[in-house]
Structures are given as C-alpha cells and as structure tokens.
C-alpha cells in the first residue's frame, strides 16, 4: 500500500497489530497507515480496543503479535526512538494539581531533557499554542475542565512531537471549550504534526481527514468521513423535528421501507430505503402517532449515523422506550 501523496513513508504504521490479555483479545490484527500532518480519528465503543492500540503505538505496551512503526522507529526494536518522537495525552490527567500552570510545564519539560532559556521559551510557546497565554500563573487544580485539558495538550507538545496521540481529549469538556481545543489541534496539524485522536463527540470527528472504526478489537472500517457515510448509510436519511416525537417512534419504525429510527437530541433520524417514503408521508405518520408541529426534511447523514450503523445499534432497532 502506497499513500496517495507518495512523498514520504507513513508517520504511523500498524501491521496486524494484536494484543491479548489472557483469554481476552483486545486488539485483533489491526493494520493501517497515517500520513504526516493527517488528523486521524480512531472511533469505537468503550472497550473496543482504542486505548490498547494507542498504548502499543506509544511504546507503553508490547504487542502480542504484529508490528508497527511510528515516526520511522520500529515499536519492537526502537521503543526509545518512538517515545522521543511522540506526545501522548492519556485519559488520566497527570500534571500536578497544586503547581501553577507554567511550573508544571517547566517540570515536565525538564523530564524531556529541555532546560534553561530554551525550556522557558518553549513553555511560553506551548502556552500560546494551546491558547493558555494568560493562565500561566493559575494553580492547575483551580482550572475548569476544558482549560485543564488544553494544559495537558500543551505538556504533550513540549518536545515538538512528530506524532500526537490524544485519547479522548475532550471527554466532559463543554461545547465552547471543545471548539477552542479543536482549533488548537487543527493549527498543529496544519503545521505538520500528525494527530491520532479518539473521541465520542462525533461532530468533532468531522475534522478528521480519515477515520478508523473499531468493533470488538477489529478495525472494521477505514475511510474519509464522506466515504464512510456513502458506504455505511446508503439509505436516504430523513430528519424529523417537532413536539412529542418520542410517542411516534414505534409507528415510524413500522412504516414500510424504514430501516431504522434513532433519536438525535429532540429530533429523530429515519433511515429509509430509496423511493420508499416521502417526507410528507413520514410527517403524516408521525402526526398520527401523537407528535405535533412535525417537520421532516431529507439530510446528509452525520458521522454519528455511521457510528450507530457500524457499531451495532443499527441492526437491533434500538430504543424501545420514549
């Protein structure tokens, strides 16, 4: 497999990467390549093997079998080279809560072998890059969650990594702070950092150039967001808005040609066989089911529609209750 650009070897390469814990197969022969400067999304349900894959690619966990290279270094024979070329933000916050923000960066920079004026300069650079310019003197433990996550990101880029591994960096972060966080990630990628990121917020996954989807340890899909939508949600997608839609879910599900009905906030997404059901007919059926002020429109599927189709709710009809 050659990357489309063919300018350089892939920055991250996994070949049949496998990890077993006792009888449990956490990661099962996973292969992919990530190009330089790419934002690569790695999605899947809890327990699908995302974090285990990251721990192998960051040199923290030895694969049971298979191989991988990160920034040109072999995972098995050059783990120190791997560690020197990457930044890793794990799900657990690992900075000192009682230290001021900038001192945390100075401390961790020291651990990476930076020192003196160069370290001071780099600490200020990463504060600016992570949009933390005026937070340097704040006590880390006093920071709101979203700002704390940007500090963890700042510390992960101290040593100018070629590849940045982010394991659910925005879990629990509010919508405003998530946008700030992703602006920083996109800036880093634009300047050539390769970003490997997991998330359960599928709106932000739209920023990934390509996405891999894990199910029970296997990589079952790998494509651009547009490619995934075309392949996994080939039906027409109707979005219904209105009041009391929950009452009409069962009726909508029983309509001819309706493959699936899912809740998206207050709205419903209906996956419909082409030509099977018009917007007007769907609206009439929902009204008959007890909903009111109903508006039904065709729409493009979201990555969350894809996730639900791939990961499994798709085939089971999902939620019975309102």
């Amino acid at each position: 497999m050659t990357p489309a650009t063919a300018t350089a070897a892939p920055t991250v390469e996994a070949r049949e990467l496998t990890r077993r814990f006792g009888a449990f197969l956490a990661v099962d022969r996973v292969s992919f390549e990530v190009e330089r400067g790419e934002i690569f999304g790695y999605l899947g349900a809890n327990g699908a093997g995302k974090s285990t894959t990251i721990r192998m690619l960051t040199g923290l966990l030895a694969p049971t079998s298979g191989a991988g290279r990160v920034a040109g270094h072999d995972l098995a024979t050059e783990p120190e080279g791997v560690k020197a070329s990457i930044g890793y933000m794990s799900q657990k916050f690992s900075l000192y809560l009682d230290l001021p923000v900038r001192e945390n960066l100075i401390f961790f920079g020291g651990a990476y072998g930076l020192w003196g004026k160069a370290l001071e300069r780099r600490a200020d650079e990463v504060l600016a890059l992570a949009d933390l310019g005026d937070a340097g003197d704040a006590i880390t433990g006093d920071l709101p969650g979203g700002v704390r996550q940007r500090l963890a990101l700042a510390s992960a880029i101290l040593q100018r990594p070629q590849v940045l591994f982010l394991d659910e960096p925005t879990a629990g972060v509010d919508p405003v702070a998530r946008r700030t966080f992703w602006r920083v990630i996109r800036d880093l990628a634009r300047e050539g950092t390769t970003v490997f990121v997991t998330t359960h917020y599928l709106d932000e996954a739209e920023y990934c150039r390509r996405i891999g989807l894990m199910v029970d340890g296997k990589l079952v899909a790998l494509d651009t967001p547009a490619g995934l939508k075309a392949r996994w949600v080939p039906e027409r997608l109707l979005v219904a808005r209105g009041r009391d839609l929950a009452r009409a879910v069962e009726r909508a599900r029983d309509l001819p040609g309706v493959k699936n009905v899912m809740r998206f906030g207050a709205a419903l997404h209906l996956r419909v066989e082409p030509g099977a059901l018009s917007e007007q007919d769907a609206a009439a059926a929902l009204r008959a089911g007890g909903a009111s002020e109903v508006v039904v429109e065709a729409a493009e599927p979201t990555l969350e529609d894809v996730f639900l189709a791939v990961v499994g709710a798709g085939g089971r009809g999902e939620e019975g209750s309102p």
């Binding site: 405003v176 946008r179 998206f264 906030g265 508006v295 639900l308």
Partner: protein, 310 residues
C-alpha cells in the same frame, strides 16, 4: 424518636434549590442559583466548565453546606441525612472500589441497600446488558476504560431505584451507542416516577430533558422546556454552502456577528446575531459560499448565550 408522616407522592417539588450560595475562598461557585424539580421530572443542568453544576449537585446530595439560600430534597434538608436511602447519587469521579471487579462492585452496592437476592439478580442482569458490561464482569474497576467506569457507576447508582437521582455528568467518555441506551433507561425510570437531576456537557442530551437550566457563574441564565427555549431563540442558524470549510472558519472566527461556528459534515454551521445575515453573507461571498437557513438546536443556543454572557 418522633414519627413524622412521610410526604405523599406528588406533594410539593421533589427538589428545591433556592438562591443557593457557596463560596470557595474569594470565588462564588454558587451565586444565587435557583431551580425546582417536580416529582417525575428530568431536569438537565448545563453550562460551561466551572459554572457551578457540580457544586449544586453536591449541595443537594448533602455533601457540602451552603453559605446562603436553601436546598431541599423530598421535603428535608439534605444535610440532615433524613432521606438518604431515597436518594441516589452518581458523582463525577471515583465512586467505586478500584480493586473490586464489576460484579463485586454491584454486589457491594446491593448489600449496602439491602436488596433482596432475586431483585438484585434481575436488576443486575438488566443493567449489565444495557451497559454492555456483561462481557467484563470479572474486570477490576481500575482496569476499566473511562467510559466503562462511568457505566458501572451509573449501574451501581440505579441498583436501589431511588426516588430522586442526582447524576453529575454520567456520560462523559461513554460511547454514542451506550449513551443512547443509558438515556432510554433514564427515561424509563422517569416514566416510572423517578425524579432525575443530570448535569451534562452533551447538548443533544439536554434536548432530551423535560426541562433545562443553563448555569453560568453560579446562577441560572435560562430555565425552561428545551423545545420552548429553542423556539424563543432570537439568533439565527445557517449552514454555509460552497467554499472550503477551514478557510470559511478562519474568515468567520473573528466576525463580531458570528456567535458560534460548528462543523456540519463537510460544511460549516454558524449562529448569527439577529439581523446580521446580510453582513455575514457579504463576508463569505468572496470565498465562493452562501448561507442557507437551518433549524437552531440547543447547542446553538448554548454557544450564543454563553458568548453573550462572557
């Protein structure tokens, strides 16, 4: 010991927060926060990180004292501990025994609440299936991923089917499939009469509450039924058609009339201050793009209101 008649179901609100004030040093985490939950209501508490949501939940759970105002759960001061067994709490972090397995944690909570064995077995099976933890019953809590840990904590909080359930960001790190299943489960309990207060950073979850309070700097900016709040929303939501999303995003980031920008598939979605549509359309036209009106959602409202309040 005096015997007070227990309040009949349906008498008075299940939860009252009245002008709650709580200071930590110089900062007021709660600064006059008020809301009420009727019995059987599902109230969502949303707001930026640090708005005071966790402090409010801790006050209602009887875990911290207020400096002013009043908290009441099922007619009693939460600090009195009077209704402890009728109240369920899922804190944001560390509510489980790390060195016990999934199954052992559930068993521990069942014994704590003295559940009959048959009831425990039935609820355990159901909660394990819904949370998809049934494959992982032998795994220790400290070896669970963040999302799996959350699901186990929620299962433990639901095991004794409390009358009032307080959930502090129960779905952080939980995948989209399990998140839907957990919400279906919450609705089922609410349908059966449970009163639920839930804080969340997910605005699609806020849309699924019977009422939402938007908290900012320790007070409620808005409180109402989410559909009604969106219907009253005076700013406008648009999808930007044509042009390159990244270039449009960069061009609009600094525009004063653009209150929020979000990815919507390959396109950009923006919230524009009322009346500024033409001005923004002129700004995107040179980039080969135009504006198409779309339906505002709760996330649009959240982003616009917080931006205004900042």
């Amino acid at each position: 010991m005096t015997h007070e008649p227990s309040p009949s179901p349906g008498a008075g609100p299940a939860v009252i927060a009245r002008a709650m004030v709580r200071r930590f040093g110089a900062t007021a985490a709660l600064d006059g926060l008020s809301f009420e939950l009727a019995r059987g209501e599902l109230l969502g508490l949303v707001g930026p990180d640090g708005a005071g949501k966790t402090t409010a939940i801790r006050a209602l759970a009887g875990l911290l004292a207020l400096d002013g105002g009043e908290a009441q759960v099922l007619g009693a001061d939460p600090l009195s501990g009077a209704n402890r067994e009728r109240l369920g709490l899922m804190p944001q972090q560390y509510s489980l025994y790390r060195d016990l397995t999934v199954e052992e944690n559930l068993h521990f909570f069942a014994r704590l609440y003295v559940l009959p064995r048959a009831v425990y077995r039935e609820r355990k099976e159901r909660l394990l299936a819904i949370t998809r933890l049934d494959r992982f019953t032998d795994r220790r809590a400290d070896a669970l991923s963040g999302g799996m840990y959350k699901k186990l904590a929620l299962a433990c909080a639901l095991l004794h089917q409390p009358e009032v359930l307080l959930l502090d960001e129960p779905t952080n790190g939980v995948d989209p499939v399990s998140r839907r299943e957990l919400w279906a489960l919450l609705h089922e309990f609410v349908h059966g009469g449970m009163t639920v207060l839930v804080s969340t950073p997910y605005m699609d979850e806020a849309e699924r509450c019977s009422r939402v309070a938007l908290v900012h700097r320790g007070r409620a900016l808005l409180d109402g039924e989410p559909g009604a709040l969106i219907a009253r929303f005076e700013d406008e939501a648009y999808e930007v058609h044509g042009g390159d999303r990244e270039r449009l995003d960069a061009a609009l980031a600094a525009h004063p009339a653009v209150l929020a920008a979000s990815p919507a598939g390959a396109r950009l979605r923006v919230v524009i201050a009322r009346g500024a549509r033409d001005e923004v359309a002129r700004a995107v036209a040179p980039l080969g793009a135009g504006l198409e009106p779309t339906h505002p959602d709760f996330e649009d409202l959240f982003l616009a209101r917080i931006r205004e309040a900042a």
